[in-house]
Amino acid sequence: MKERNSKQKLIAIAIGAAVLLNIPILETVNKKILVFGFPLLYFYVFLIWMVLIVLLYRLAHQKSK
């Protein structure tokens, strides 16, 4: 049950990240603006990337318990 549950979460995370890191959402951040000194597009992509890592980290450690 738990195994199944975390599998579903993993798939959901993959789909979510794939949608967030693709057109059309990328278009909305494709602007020549700096955020905290970083270009918005890069800032957004790396932010999503980091969130993904945090989620995967939490899921991996929750599973190992």
């Binding site: 993993l10 993959a14 890191l21 278009e27 905290f36 000194g37 597009l41 993904l52 995967l56």
Partner: protein, 916 residues
């Protein structure tokens, strides 16, 4: 910087690598589970080659964010590794698969042609990629030693840097990649070295990133503000205008596939995985690794452009140029070492994987499949395997070297990588379909791969090879035979795509269509169906796999050992088989016997680990007279053996239970039969007992009826008898009912306090008349001191009356003597009724408490009574938790003794507790 310093540093670095690999190889068990999980995750970093290291910066300096797509792809795959990668790992481990070619050929019936196709295509696709690494090393060497970067290949080969790179790489790979013949045995040493290299290249990249951002510039804000102000660099902050998102989308998918399918990734991700749980660590460690190594790519690209101030530096090597601009030679050297680490890790793992494919999927099947060659070389297969692997490593590197000098002018650094990616992506439908879709057939897989590869070649390779020639120009503009639908870069009129997205889309499109439609229109043979079953349902089968039958055939155990001994040596083969037989309790003592199918299957898998599954199958089937196996047979065998163990245990348990139940049943049955008999006896006795008084009543009534003028005296006499018999009848009936109540347990006691005196007095009162009439002496001895007992008074009196009337029946009138005695014995009150009647034979003493005992023993002259009295007494005392016994000597008299507990209420309570 002087070449000598650079060369010495490089050799020292490679020496360190050797040392790490050597130590890890020597003490493979030293690393803890967490360590090996991290080694696993970091060794995945072999994905980041020199192309990533140097080329990403070059790509970013031209197209901005596009370079990231190659790393976003694997990152997006990471969450589903636990589902997809784990399945591939499990299949590879169970089937002892060591390469991607082996994996695909195994899935589709251990087919040799499929394995060869995959191998050849891997070679075609990957060798340019290896060449790319050689190019990166020699070019970076030329930059750091400030030599000409011109690509002229003139003069002696001995002056060429990349040639030495090839030699060193060959030695390194030979030392750690082909030490053992069994490729299923992991290369822990090499993996530790690869993980170390991953760290080196990451640290090098981070160091140069920090140097640039915080030394050359004043932090990220400064860098990007300058970038915004510059027209050349400000466009890099956005998605490239032309086909940006489309490219991004397709490259994301492409790189996600390549991450699983590249031979080196298959080696690292699948073959070198020692524990499935390591995937969990890799799932977050590897995306983190990719994020970190890409963090400074854009800043370095932008910084490089700004710092070069219009001078023509090769953007691919900004990483080296930047520290050199600031005269940071040591930093430059470190960056160079980082580049070496990126290139060497890729070269070593990739050539090793390719060499295994070469020996297992091309050479050995060729030798084994050819009778003449097999006769000639069959005995040396083991040596041939390992030497062909070693030679092919050298061959691959030389091929890459040749390619680098001959053809690299057609490609930029980055495009070679992506072209390789698309070539291996052609295996995706066959592989992904193979592990999730049972219906995929060998023909479908071959069709898909062939057509995908043809499109790859036509749309990517041809334009690069011929792009500069007149024919090539014509082909690109007007298409093959002048058909514009066949333009290599605008196939079927698809325009506006970059060559990479274009090739990716069309090759995958036709590949998938061919795979699916051909699969639907072709059938699988037995082996194929068996394999598809095992691959798709691997988690169901892996636990019991060693017991499943793959090859059903006839061979003796010595034959099997002989086949194995070509690779493992005679002694070891025999030992391995003996151990396996012992583990599964298979008898192999008789050499003439046909070997157990499990042994054959096991031997095949052992061979598969050495020479690949397709070759192993050929080897085994030459030793085995193969029967045709039907798939349903195999599947049912697999399922049966899975359930057999469980069922067996269950069966044993059940049969024991059953036996116990049977025994019990038998006892119950005997008892039942007895009860039935007793019931019958009881009924016949009761009816008999009822008939006697009824007969006499009827006879007497008839006399009275027939003789109305009978003497009053006689009439009185007869009527008296009738009344007596009627009384007896009603007594009998009430006693039968009584007994029935006792036996069914419906009789309840009404407890009250009473003394022995009361009981005896009340009872004697009732029979006093008879005693007086029969002139019988009655003595009462009461030693109870009026101690009270708790009992059902009426029932106790019934016991007394029964016993007293019995005594009265058996004593002679006149000199008869009856003694009633009461005494307290422990917690019981004991009563005795002693008579001097004729007594009871010893053999009958135990039986007199059974109902109708008198009736059953017609020898005893029956005096009076129903024959139920003593039975009822016993029931009453049972209810009181007391007991009754008899002592008697024929001719002298009888003593009926019974015990009643003093505190019956307490005793009942105790009994209830003990039950609870």
């Amino acid at each position: 910087m002087s070449p000598a310093v650079v060369i010495i540093s490089s050799i020292v670095y490679l020496g360190i690598l050797f040392l790490i690999a050597f130590r890890a190889q020597k003490n493979p068990r030293k690393s803890t589970s967490i360590q090996s999980a991290w080694i696993y995750a970091l060794s995945m970093g072999v994905y980041c080659t020199a192309w990533t290291y140097y080329g990403s910066v070059g790509k970013a300096s031209r197209d901005g964010i596009d370079f990231l797509a190659v790393y976003i792809g694997p990152t997006l795959m990471a969450p589903v590794w636990w589902i997809v990668l784990r399945k591939i790992i499990r299949i590879a481990q169970v089937q002892r698969i060591t390469t991607i070619a082996d994996f695909i050929s195994s899935r589709y019936g251990k087919n040799i042609s499929l394995g060869s196709i995959v191998t050849v295509f891997c070679f075609i696709g990957i060798i340019p990629y290896i060449a790319l690494q050689l190019k990166a090393i020699s070019e970076s060497f030329e930059i750091i030693t400030s030599q000409s970067t011109a690509q002229t290949f003139s003069g002696s080969i001995l002056k060429d840097t990349s040639f030495y790179v090839v030699i060193i790489m060959a030695i390194f790979t030979l030392l750690f990649g082909t030490r053992k013949i069994e490729t299923t045995e992991r290369h822990q040493g090499m993996m530790s070295a690869i993980a170390f290299e991953s760290i080196v290249k990451l640290v090098a990249f981070l160091v140069i990133g920090f140097f640039l951002v915080y030394y050359a510039f004043d932090g990220f804000g400064d860098l990007f503000n300058q970038a915004l102000a510059n027209e050349n660099t400000s466009k890099l902050l956005l998605m490239p205008e032309k086909s940006g998102y489309r490219e991004w989308f397709w490259i994301t998918i492409l790189s996600a596939l390549a991450f699983t399918l590249l031979p080196r990734q298959f080696q690292v991700n699948v073959v070198e995985n020692t524990n499935e749980n390591h995937i969990k660590t890799a799932t977050w460690v590897f995306p983190t690794y990719l994020l970190l190594i890409n963090l400074f790519v854009l800043p370095v690209a932008i910084g490089g452009i700004i710092l070069s101030k219009g001078e023509a530096y090769n953007a691919d090597y900004f990483l080296l140029h930047i520290p050199m601009m600031f005269d940071q030679n040591l930093l430059a050297l470190f960056i160079f070492i980082g580049g070496i680490s990126a290139a060497t890790s890729m070269i070593v793992v990739e050539t090793m994987a390719l060499s295994t494919m070469f020996s297992n999927n091309l050479l050995i099947p060729f030798i084994v499949g050819n009778d003449r060659l097999k006769m000639k070389y069959g005995k040396h297969l083991s040596a041939i395997t390992i030497w062909s692997r070693r030679l092919s490593i050298v061959f691959i590197l030389l091929l890459a070297y040749w390619y680098y000098h001959r053809l690299d002018q057609y490609y930029s650094l980055v495009s070679i990588g992506l072209i390789s990616f698309i070539s291996v992506a052609q295996f995706a439908p066959a592989l992904i379909g193979g592990i999730f879709w049972k219906k995929g057939t060998r023909k479908g897989a071959i069709a898909g791969i062939l057509i995908g590869f043809a499109i790859w070649f036509y749309t990517l390779v041809i334009p690069s090879l011929l792009g500069n020639s007149a024919f090539g120009q014509d082909l690109l503009e007007n298409g093959l035979f002048g058909w514009s639908a066949l333009r290599p870069q605008a196939l079927f009129g698809l325009e506006g795509f970059s060559p990479i997205s274009h090739a990716m889309f069309w090759s995958m499109f036709w590949n998938i269509i061919a795979y699916i439609t051909v699969s639907f229109n072709s059938t699988q043979n037995n082996v194929e169906r068996n394999q598809s079953e095992v691959f798709v349902d691997i988690f169901k089968y892996s636990a019991i796999y060693e017991n499943t039958i793959v090859l059903k055939g006839k061979a003796s155990v010595p034959d099997v050992i002989k086949t194995l001994s070509q690779f493992f040596g005679e002694d070891r083969s025999a030992q391995v088989i003996r151990l396996f037989a012992k583990k599964y309790d298979i008898d192999i003592s008789d050499p003439t016997n046909i070997a157990d199918p499990r042994i054959i299957a096991y031997a095949e898998r052992l061979l598969g680990g050495v020479i690949g599954s397709a070759s192993a199958r050929m080897m085994m089937s030459s030793a085995v007279v193969e029967d045709d196996v039907r798939i349903d047979e195999v599947v049912s065998i697999v399922r049966e053996s899975q359930q057999l163990l469980i069922a067996n245990r269950e069966l044993t348990r059940k049969s024991v239970e059953l036996k116990n139940a049977l025994d019990e049943l038998e006892v119950v049955n005997i008892k039942l039969q007895e009860n039935d008999q007793i019931k019958d006896d009881f009924l016949s006795t009761v009816t008999h007992e009822l008939r006697t008084p009824i007969t006499s009543i009827r006879a007497l009534n008839e006399i009275l009826f027939d003789n109305p003028d009978l003497e009053t005296e006689d009439r009185q006499h007869y009527l008296g008898i009738v009344i007596k018999e009627t009384e007896r009848l009603s007594r009998l009936i009430s006693q039968v009912l009584d007994l029935e109540r006792y036996e069914s347990g419906r009789q309840k006691l009404t407890l009250n306090r009473c003394t022995a005196f009361e009981l005896i007095h009340d009872s004697v009162e009732a029979v006093n008349q008879l005693i007086v009439e029969q002139k019988i002496t009655l003595d009462i001895i009461d030693n109870t001191n009026d101690i009270e007992l708790i009992a059902d008074k009426d029932k106790m009196i019934q016991v007394f009356l029964n016993l007293l009337s019995n005594a009265l029946k058996f004593v002679e009138s006149g000199d008869g003597k009856i003694t009633v005695r009461a005494e307290v014995v422990a917690s019981f009150m004991m009563f005795e009724i002693i008579d001097n009647g004729k007594g009871i034979e010893e053999e009958f003493q135990k039986m007199i408490f059974e109902k109708f005992f008198q009736a059953k023993n017609q020898l005893m002259r029956k005096p009076k009574g129903t024959g139920l009295g003593l039975a009822i007494c016993k029931k009453i005392l049972d209810l009181h938790k007391g007991k009754i016994e008899v002592e008697s000597q024929p001719g002298i008299g009888s003593t009926f003794r019974f015990y009643v507990p003093l505190y019956l209420d307490q005793k009942i309570k105790e009994d209830n507790n003990s039950i609870e």
